[in-house]
Amino acid sequence: MIGALPPLHPPAYTLTEDLRELSEPASIRRPAPDELAREELLLRKLGPRGWGRVHHFRNYYESGWGEHAGRVLSPMALEAFFRFLASTSFPTGKTAPSVFLTDRGGVELCWENAAGRSVQVEFTREGVEFYDETTGEEGVVGHDASLELSRRLSS
C-alpha cells in the first residue's frame, strides 16, 4: 500500500540507488538528529510511558482537542518543560513523574517528592505555575526563572 502512494514532496535532489535508505525494521525509530538528546532525556526522566505521552501531545493533539476545545501544545511551553526536566532531580524509588497536556496548551508535570508529597508544575506559553504540597507554596514564575524553581523543587 505504501508503494502506491504518490511521492510526498518534490525534493531538490534524490540520492543514487546505492545511497538510498534501506527499509528499516519496525523496531527502529530514528529521531531527527537534533532531537536525540531530548528523546534520551524524556526516557531517562519520565520512562517509556512519559516519553510516549509527550510524543503523543506533540504529534497527535490539534487545536480543539477534548471536551473543552483544548489548545495545541505551545512550543514555548514545551521548550520550558524540557529545560526544567534537564535540571530537575526526581526522587529514586518513586513512580516516574506523570505528564499531561492542559487545555491551554501547556504541559503539566506531577510527581511525589521524597516525603511522599505532591509537586505540580505547569509550563505555559507565558510562564511556569507551580504547587508544592510540602510547603503549601504556589505561584507563577517566568520561563527564565524555571532553573531556580527546579532547584527549589528537586528532592
Binding site: L5, P6, P7, L8, H9, P10, A12, Y13, T14, L15, T16, D18, L19, P33, D34, H55, R58, N59, Y60, E62, S63, G64, R71, V72, L73, S74, P75, M76, L78, E79, A80, G105, R125, H143
Partner: protein, 250 residues
C-alpha cells in the same frame, strides 16, 4: 561543555560566485495555529494573490488527513504552493516557507526583500498562533565528487575514505542555531538540460523557542542563519573549489 565550531569561518566572504551552485534556498517557519487547515490557504491567498496568483497542490495533499496526522514525519511538510515569477510560497498545516526557484538563486538582498513582504502578509493572514521553529536551508550541487574539495573527511582505519559512494549527515551547534549538514557524492538533481548526477551539500540552520518569533525577530533570525550558512560554506570548501566558483569580493 560545548565544542568550538569545527569549521573556520573566513573573515572575508565573497558577495557573488559563478557558476552559482545553489539549487534552492528555503526559508521556513513552523508554527502552531488555532485555525483548522481548511481555512489557512484562503487566509493566506487573500493576502498574497497580487504577486502569487498561481496555485499548485503538492502530492502530499492527496494523502488523507487522518493518514498525515498519524505520521509525525509528514506534519511539517507543505501541502500546496503559491507561485510567482521568482519565488514559491509553500504552506502546510504547520509550516509556511519561501523558496527560491530551482537553479535561479536571486541573491540575498532580493530574498531579504521578499521575506519582509511575505512575513508581513502572513502576519495579516492571522493564522499563526505561535512560532515553533525557524529554518534556513541551502542545497548546493556540484558535478563530480565534492569530498576531496571539502575540509571534511570520512575515515576508515584512520585513512580517508575517498571514491566510494558516501552520504554523511551531522548536526553542529553555532550559538542558538542547530545546523544539520548533509554531504553526498551520489545525488541526482533535475536541471533544464535533464537530470545530472554529482554531489550535494545540503545545509539547514534552525532555531527554536524561546529565541524565535516570526513576527518579532523572524527577519533577523533568518538573516543570522543565512550569514552562518554562508560562512560555513566558504569555510568548508578548499581553495581549489573556491577558485572554480570565481568569487567576487566587495
Amino acid at each position: 561543555m560545548s565544542q568550538p565550531f569545527p569549521i573556520p569561518i573566513p573573515d572575508r566572504l565573497p558577495i557573488r560566485i559563478a557558476p552559482c551552485p545553489i539549487v534552492e534556498a528555503i526559508f521556513e517557519a513552523r508554527f502552531v495555529s488555532p485555525e483548522s487547515w481548511a481555512t489557512m490557504p484562503g487566509l493566506l491567498f487573500a493576502q498574497i494573490r497580487e504577486k502569487y496568483q498561481e496555485q499548485k497542490n503538492l502530492p502530499l495533499a492527496l494523502v488523507p488527513e487522518e493518514f498525515r496526522r498519524q505520521d509525525p514525519a509528514l506534519q511539517h511538510l507543505p501541502l500546496l504552493q503559491f507561485l510567482s515569477k521568482d519565488f514559491l510560497i509553500q504552506l502546510g498545516p504547520r509550516v509556511v516557507s519561501l523558496v527560491t526557484r530551482p537553479h535561479a538563486y536571486p541573491g540575498w538582498p532580493a530574498i531579504r526583500g521578499e521575506l519582509l513582504w511575505v512575513v508581513e502578509r502572513v502576519k495579516k493572514a492571522g493564522f499563526i498562533g505561535e512560532t515553533e521553529r525557524l529554518g534556513v536551508r541551502y542545497v548546493d550541487f556540484f558535478a563530480g565528487d565534492v569530498f576531496p574539495l571539502l575540509r571534511l573527511q570520512l575515515q576508515a582505519n584512520e585513512r580517508p575514505l575517498l571514491g566510494a559512494p558516501t552520504d554523511v549527515t551531522t548536526v553542529l551547534r553555532h550559538g542558538a542555531l542547530a545546523i544539520r549538514m548533509r554531504v553526498s557524492n551520489g545525488a541526482i538533481v533535475a536541471t533544464a538540460e535533464g537530470p545530472k548526477s554529482g554531489s550535494v551539500l545540503d545545509v539547514e540552520g534552525s532555531i527554536g523557542p524561546p529565541e524565535v518569533d516570526l513576527f518579532q525577530n523572524g527577519l533577523a533570525r533568518f538573516g543570522e542563519a543565512h550569514d552562518t550558512i554562508k560562512g560555513l560554506f566558504f569555510g568548508l570548501i578548499k581553495p581549489e573549489l573556491l577558485a572554480r566558483l570565481n568569487p567576487v569580493y566587495e
